[in-house]
Symmetry: C2
Subunit: 369 residues, 2 copies
DNA sequence: CGATTAAGGGTAATCGATTACCCTCGTCAA
DNA sequence: TTGACGAGGGTAATCGATTACCCTTAATCG
């Protein structure tokens, strides 16, 4: 076995750095000041019932205050074999959709006294694996997979019943797993209905590779509904964009869309794709949405200002955080244990007339299954 | 002293939940399997020189592999009084600027084997204080303040020499502190030069309240340069937007900008503000940038697609992560200790002709001072 | 009145790493 | 030949919390 090239694990090349330390009070000192044992301090802090009299409790809290004591997370985690950290693995913070959902999750976690570790995985299975291992080493309270891809460690995590919650995209493996998202099938079908009702008898579809359940649901449901309404032979050409969505969509639009015979309706499976397509359409002098109706997916709040010509399906960003917290709770709380695996959030269809948009609540709201 | 209302600190209302545990191997088991002491295992793992023969090293690494051992972060942190976590406190992930910089920081940290805890503070001093305390309890490796506001705990952290790095906005207190950002003074002055060169003899300024050094630098430098070029009596009306930037800018633009006598040039201290202003301009039928030249600040990559009419100062997002890591290193690495407090990154001026943009490198590049 | 039981609180084990300190060999120079 | 020194490695203390277990006291119940 060849020796490994001694990759140093230490930070910045030196061991035991001159660590700027803030010597903070320990539970020991609090106990001494309050005149009780550390056990009692711990119990007071953690509100263990029937383990401290009112008087003791107050003495302890006074000492905590006086020393501005903060329990060491490391000590606690070591003993409990569990930290109060929740890992969020997202493909890319540069994508507004992921950033907004991460923000919502962070707020909801904070209200539970949890903190969020956030990692960009770039949809790379190796990176995802590395971060999943990191989460295991941190003994996290939960792991939120925002856009999971298939990877060995994910499979392993599912087997060992790790507290995983899949957001938006479902678990890539066919096993029962907790999930939070909107009903993409219903949403895409409503988009098809809308386009048909506006006298469109066909549409182009720009979509990402069908690796994720979200993309698949959107595309197939759109096709099914459209063909149900307009006949099985209605034109629904598909164009598949690659990873760098905006740019790729723009390039592909340049190749396929001309000013003379543009498609009258385009369905994009994300807003990002729509931005690329629309950019080209505007550059060749088409008016949106008069000449071409473009539908996106996600509902970036910025659209109202920057893309008022875009119709889209708006995700309820602000609801993701609470829903994720609820799903995580099911791993721990007896009461929540029977909660259904899927949490389906309501979406809105946002229709554009070019300058302004109108919101339409979905025909059905949120539901669980 | 009245009894506190026993706010439970436990998660989800119950103690000792049915914790889905993945029993992971400990250093003890690795040592046993390799036939050495835990001390040796630790030394091999941490690459302590001259503490293990090649043969021993290989036996240990083989055992590590066999048990797929991962060192417990809690155990390590407890002993070393320092975790490998870096806290990033950002105002709002919904803002693309903050999201992109956070993403860049995360990538750079990961390459050092560090992980990022991210928290939205919403520029709220109380929230910022709560998170600063949380970081202390986590004994973080460093704290990145992306848009800091004044708060007691921040002051305290500065006094105790906590490893703080301020990004974009400088430290709100007048003490020496590490900082990473662009030269806002230079950038704003170049914008003024550009507008003057395009025959503008005045400009409106939309800016956020001047709480942060970034806003102040941008506004005052722009004013100074413009007056230097166009005379002290050139018209430079200021309009101050409030917290919800896009909306507020839009409302204020509605109040002040009419189609009959629009300003010919508008300088906005962030892209977000520019979006709001531009939205109104487009709604009242003005052409951008033919009728009105709008300058933003930050350079959201989305602009190329959604706001090609916007000229802006582009921040080098991808450079923030490495720069922040370098600044953090100065707290630990002897070699980096003499690194200057300020890391100034280069910016680009992006000029719009309506449909396309051209990049202009700044007259001076990055520098340190 | 004796037996239970609940409340209040202390003792010490425990979690999993790192590291100060000590020990044993060789090697090598004086 | 001796002493110093470096390499290699073990022992046990230590970090800061939580919690199993035990003890005392007072109240309650039949």
């Amino acid at each position: 076995m060849p020796s490994k090239p001694a990759k140093p694990r230490t930070m910045f090349g030196i061991r035991d750095p001159k660590a700027p330390q803030t010597p903070t009070a320990s539970i020991e000192e609090v106990a001494r000041l309050a005149g009780v044992s550390t056990a009692t301090v711990s119990r007071v802090i953690n509100n263990v019932p029937n383990k401290a009299s009112q008087a003791t409790r107050e003495r302890v809290l006074r000492a905590v205050e006086a020393l501005s004591y903060l329990p060491s997370r490391a000590g606690r985690a070591l003993r409990q074999k569990r930290s109060h950290i929740v890992g969020v693995l997202a493909p890319d913070l540069g994508n507004a959709y992921h950033a907004l959902i991460s923000g919502s999750i962070e707020r909801a976690l904070r209200e539970q006294g949890l903190v969020m570790v956030l990692a960009n995985t770039g949809e790379d299975p190796d990176l995802q694996d590395a971060m999943l291992q990191e989460m295991r080493a941190l003994q996290v309270f939960g792991i939120v997979m925002l856009g999971a891809v298939e990877s060995p460690e994910l499979q392993h995590g599912l087997k060992s019943n790790e507290p995983l919650v899949f957001v938006n995209r479902r678990c890539p493996y066919d096993v029962p797993a907790r999930h939070v998202g909107i009903d993409n099938v219903l949403a895409a079908s409503e988009v098809a209905e809308y386009l048909f009702a506006r006298h469109h008898r066909g549409a182009w579809i720009f979509h990402a590779p069908l690796k994720s359940s979200a993309s698949r649901d959107r595309v197939t449901s759109f096709q099914r509904k459209f063909q149900e309404l307009a006949g099985a032979d209605c034109p629904l050409p598909e164009i598949v964009v690659s990873t760098r969505r905006r740019d790729s969509a723009y390039q592909l639009a340049r190749q396929h869309i001309s000013a003379e015979t543009p498609p009258r309706a385009i369905f994009c499976t994300t807003d990002e794709i729509a931005y690329g397509v629309a950019r080209h359409c505007l550059e060749i002098g088409l008016s949106l949405p008069q000449d071409v109706t473009i539908f996106g997916f996600d509902g970036n709040p910025m659209n109202e200002f920057l893309a008022p010509w875009l119709s889209t399906v708006r995700s309820p960003y602000e609801l993701f955080g609470p829903a994720v917290v609820g799903a995580l709770g099911a791993f721990y709380d007896e009461g929540e244990a029977s909660r259904p695996l899927d949490t389906i959030l309501p979406f809105e269809i946002i229709l554009s007339n070019g300058l302004h948009t109108t919101r339409t609540s979905s025909t059905t709201g949120a539901y669980v299954k």
